[in-house]
C-alpha cells in the first residue's frame, strides 16, 4: 500500500470519526458513537502496524517514511510543508498512541455508557487522537505545534467535559491557561530557531545545528531549547507549571488515562527525543532539564504520599514519572526517556483505567479512605492493578524496572549525570514504591471501609479487556530494552537501543564495570522493596503509625499535604498582582485615555457619516442610480 495513502488513512480515520460523531453530537446512543470512535482508533492502529512493518523492511540506516501533502505556508524564507515523517521515534509513538488509544476508546464505551453526552465525548476523544497523531508525525516544529495546540484544546474540552460542575469547568480552564504559558515559550523557542537557522524542519535542524559552535548560557541554541523546555513544562507538567495536571483529574477517568498519563503529557519528552541532536549542543539546557526533572519527580512523589484521592495520587505519580523522563533527557539518555515513556504509557494507562474501574464500581467514590478490601469484589481489576503496581515501583521483570533502572543508571554514569541526580532519583523511587503500595493497601487490601449501601461489582467486558491487555504489556513491555548486563549473558539484545540508535544523539559511552551496574540496580530495587514493605506495614499491619508520623511532622506534613502551597503562592504572588495591576490599568488608563480615544474616533466617524448617510436613504432607485454611475465611471476609465 502506498505510504502517503497509509499515513493519510492513519490521520483521517480519527478525524472522520470526530466529524461523524461531532455532527450528531446530541445523540445519546453511546454504543453507536463508541463503536464508530473505537473503530476509527482501531483503523489508525492497524495503519500504524502496517507502517511499522514497512519500516522494518527498510535498511537500518534509512528507516524513514516521509510524505508531504502540500505546501502549507510559503512566505519569504519560511517554507512549511504539510509533511509527515514516520521514523523510529514516531513509529513507537504512533503505536503507543493508537494502541493505548484504541484500548481506552474501548474502555470508554463501558465507562461512558450512562453519560449525558456520550457522542460529544467520543467526538472529542477522536479529535484528540487526530491531533496527537499530527503532533508526533509532523516533520517540522510548526506541524508539531498544530498538534500541540490541538491536544491542548481537546484536553481542555475533556477535562471540563462535565462543565455543569463549575469546579470541573475551572479545572479545564486552569489546564488551558497554564498550557498557554508554556505555549508562549514554545513559540518563542520556535521563532528563535527560525531566526537563527532559517528552518523549522527537524531533519534540517539536526543537519545544521551540530555544525554551529555554541557559546555558553546566552547561545542561541541554549535560549531556544530553554524556551522549548518551558513549553514542555507546560504540556508535560513539570516544575513550575505542573499544577494543572492534578486538577485535570476532574475529567472522565479514561481521559485521564489517555491524555493525562499515556500520551499528551509525554509530548514534551517526545519533543526533546525528536530534537536530541539539537539538544546535545546545549549542555546547559540539559543540565537545567535534568535538575528540573529530578526535582519534579521528587516533589511530586512527596505530595503523592499525602494524597487521599485515588486519581490525585495517580496524577502526582504521573508528574513524578514524567520527571524521570526529563531526568533521562537531561542526562542525554534519550533512548531511556523514550523507553520509559513507552512503559509508563502502558502501566499508567492501566492504573488509571483500573482506578476508573474502581471508581465505577464504587459509584463515583474517589477517596481511598472509603475503600479497602476491594480485592475480592474486583478480581480482574486487582490482578491487573498489581501488574501496574509492580511495574511502577520497578520490580523485575516488570516493564518499569528496566526503564527506570536504565534512567537511574544513566543519571549515575552518563557524562551529563552526577551522583546528586542519581540520589534524588533513588529517593524518588523509594517514595514511589511507598505511595503506590499505600494506594494498593488502602484500595484493594485490608478491611473494607465503605458503607453497606455500596455493592462493588466487576466491570463489563469492554472495560475488562483493555485492562487485561494493558496488564500483559505492563509485564512484558520492558523486555524490549533489557540492559546488556542482564541480557548480554543469555543472548537477549537490547532491541530498543538498536532501534533508536540511528535517530537519537549518541553520547560517548562511559566505561562502567558490570559490577557497578549490577550494584546500582540491586540498590534501587532494594530501596523500592524496602519502602514498599514499610508502606505495607504502615497501612495494613499498624494503621495508626502513619497518623502519628504525620502528627510528628506537623507543619511540614500540612505543607506537603497542601502541595507545598504552590497554588496559593501562584494565586497570591502572580495572579492577584496581575489582576490588581490590570484593574488599575483599566480604571485609570483605559477609562481615561483609551476609551476616550475610541469614543472620539467613533464620534468622528459618525459625524463624518452624517453627511454621507443621506446617500443611504432606502430608495431602491437611488441605489440603482449609484450603481449606474459607478458603471459609467468604470467604463469611462476603461475606454479612455
Amino acid at each position: 500500500m502506498n505510504h502517503a495513502l497509509l499515513i493519510m488513512t492513519l490521520l483521517l480515520a480519527p478525524l472522520l470519526g470526530f466529524l461523524f460523531n461531532g455532527f450528531r453530537f446530541s445523540s445519546k446512543d453511546a454504543y453507536l458513537a463508541g463503536t464508530v470512535a473505537t473503530g476509527a482508533a482501531a483503523i489508525s492502529f492497524f495503519c500504524s502496524l502496517l507502517l511499522w512493518k514497512d519500516l522494518l523492511a527498510l535498511p537500518v540506516e534509512s528507516r524513514v517514511i516521509a510524505t508531504h501533502f502540500f505546501d502549507w505556508i510559503n512566505v519569504g524564507a519560511l517554507n512549511v510543508r504539510f509533511g509527515f515523517v514516520v521514523d523510529q521515534i514516531s513509529a513507537i509513538m504512533i503505536l503507543v498512541v493508537t494502541g493505548v488509544g484504541s484500548l481506552i476508546h474501548l474502555f470508554s464505551v463501558g465507562y461512558m455508557a450512562h453519560d449525558e453526552r456520550p457522542t460529544k465525548y467520543f467526538a472529542y476523544l477522536n479529535l484528540f487522537l487526530f491531533n496527537m497523531l499530527i503532533l508526533v508525525l509532523g516533520d517540522n516544529l510548526v506541524i508539531t505545534f498544530v498538534g500541540w495546540e490541538g491536544v491542548g484544546l481537546c484536553s481542555y474540552l475533556l477535562v471540563g467535559f462535565w462543565f455543569t460542575d463549575s469546579q470541573k469547568a475551572s479545572a479545564g480552564m486552569k489546564a488551558f491557561v497554564t498550557n498557554r504559558i508554556g505555549d508562549a515559550g514554545f513559540l518563542i523557542g520556535m521563532f528563535t530557531l527560525f531566526f537563527a537557522f532559517g528552518t523549522l524542519n527537524y531533519a534540517d535542524l539536526a543537519a545544521i545545528i551540530p555544525k554551529v559552535p555554541e557559546t555558553a548560557w546566552l547561545g542561541t541554541i541554549t535560549i531556544a531549547t530553554l524556551c522549548l523546555f518551558l513549553g514542555a513544562t507546560g504540556k508535560s507538567a513539570q516544575i513550575p507549571l505542573y499544577v494543572w495536571l492534578p486538577d485535570a483529574m476532574a475529567g472522565p477517568t479514561p481521559v485521564s488515562a489517555l491524555i493525562h498519563a499515556a500520551t499528551m503529557v509525554t509530548a514534551g519528552v517526545y519533543l526533546f527525543v525528536r530534537m536530541s541532536n539539537v539538544l546535545v549542543m546545549a549542555p546547559h539546557t540539559m543540565e537545567v532539564i535534568a535538575w528540573v526533572g529530578a526535582s519534579t519527580a521528587f516533589v511530586a512523589a512527596t505530595i503523592g504520599v499525602t494524597q487521599w484521592d485515588i486519581k490525585k495520587i495517580l496524577a502526582y505519580s504521573t508528574v513524578s514519572q514524567l520527571g524521570y523522563m526529563f531526568l533521562a533527557v537531561g542526562v542525554g539518555a534519550f533512548t531511556a526517556a523514550q523507553f520509559h515513556l513507552m512503559t509508563h504509557a502502558f502501566f499508567k494507562a492501566l492504573m488509571f483505567l483500573g482506578s476508573g474501574s474502581v471508581i465505577h464500581a464504587m459509584h463515583e467514590e474517589q477517596d481511598v479512605r472509603h475503600m479497602g478490601g476491594l480485592k475480592k469484589y474486583l478480581p480482574i481489576t486487582h490482578i491487573t492493578f498489581v501488574c501496574g503496581w509492580l511495574a511502577i515501583i520497578g520490580m523485575p521483570p516488570f516493564a518499569g524496572f528496566f526503564s527506570k533502572d536504565e534512567i537511574l543508571f544513566q543519571a549515575f554514569a552518563s557524562p551529563y549525570g552526577n551522583k546528586g541526580l542519581w540520589a534524588l532519583g533513588v529517593v524518588t523511587a523509594g517514595l514511589t514504591a511507598f505511595y503506590m503500595t499505600r494506594l494498593m493497601c488502602l484500595t484493594f487490601w485490608g478491611k473494607s471501609r465503605f458503607g453497606h449501601d455500596k455493592h462493588p461489582h466487576e466491570s463489563p467486558p469492554t472495560m475488562a479487556i483493555p485492562l487485561i491487555i494493558l496488564g500483559v504489556f505492563s509485564v512484558i513491555g520492558g523486555w524490549v530494552g533489557i540492559p546488556h548486563v542482564i541480557g548480554g549473558g543469555v543472548g537477549i539484545p537490547n532491541i530498543l537501543e538498536g532501534w533508536l540508535e540511528p535517530v537519537t544523539a549518541q553520547l560517548k559511552e562511559t566505561e562502567v564495570s558490570g559490577l557497578l551496574e549490577w550494584g546500582l540496580m540491586g540498590f534501587s530495587v532494594a530501596v523500592a522493596a524496602i519502602s514498599a514493605l514499610i508502606a505495607y506495614s504502615f497501612y495494613i499491619l499498624s494503621p495508626e503509625t502513619p497518623k502519628s508520623i504525620a502528627a510528628a511532622l506537623g507543619g511540614f506534613y500540612d505543607a506537603v499535604c497542601n502541595k507545598y502551597y504552590v497554588d496559593e503562592f501562584y494565586q497570591g504572588w502572580i495572579i492577584n498582582p496581575l489582576v490588581e495591576g490590570s484593574k488599575a490599568l483599566w480604571l485609570y488608563i483605559d477609562v481615561n485615555f483609551i476609551d476616550k480615544a475610541t469614543y472620539l474616533a467613533g464620534d468622528l466617524v459618525s459625524g463624518a457619516a452624517s453627511f454621507v448617510k443621506t446617500v443611504q436613504n432606502g430608495k431602491t432607485q437611488s441605489y440603482a442610480l449609484y450603481m449606474a454611475l459607478g458603471v459609467v465611471v468604470v467604463m469611462t476609465i476603461v475606454l479612455l
Partner: protein, 108 residues
Amino acid sequence: MLSIETFLHVGLAHYIFLSGILFSFGMIAVLMRKNVIVMLMGVELMLNAVNLSFIAFSKESGNLNGHIMVFFVMTIAAAEAGVGLALAVAIYKKFHEVNIRFFEHLRG
C-alpha cells in the same frame, strides 16, 4: 465620414446604436418609474436590448455563440419576470399598491 452611404448600408453599428437606445430607455424606466411592475418591464427592455446586440454581433462574427447567449438570457429573463411578479403580488397583497417606495421598508 458621415456620408449617405453610412446611413444606407445597414451594418453592425446601426443595430448596436439601436440596442444602446433601447437599453438606456429600459434603464430610465428602472431608475425613474415608481411602479414596480413598470420597473420590471424596464429590466426586460434592457435585457432585450442586450439580446439585440448579441444577435447583431453573432451575425457579424458568423458564429452562433451569440444565439446561445440570447437563449440563456431569455430563460433568465423569464425566471426574473416570474420572481419579480411574485414579489409584486406579495407587495400588492399587503399595501394594495405596487409602488417602489414600499421597498424602503427594507432599509430596516
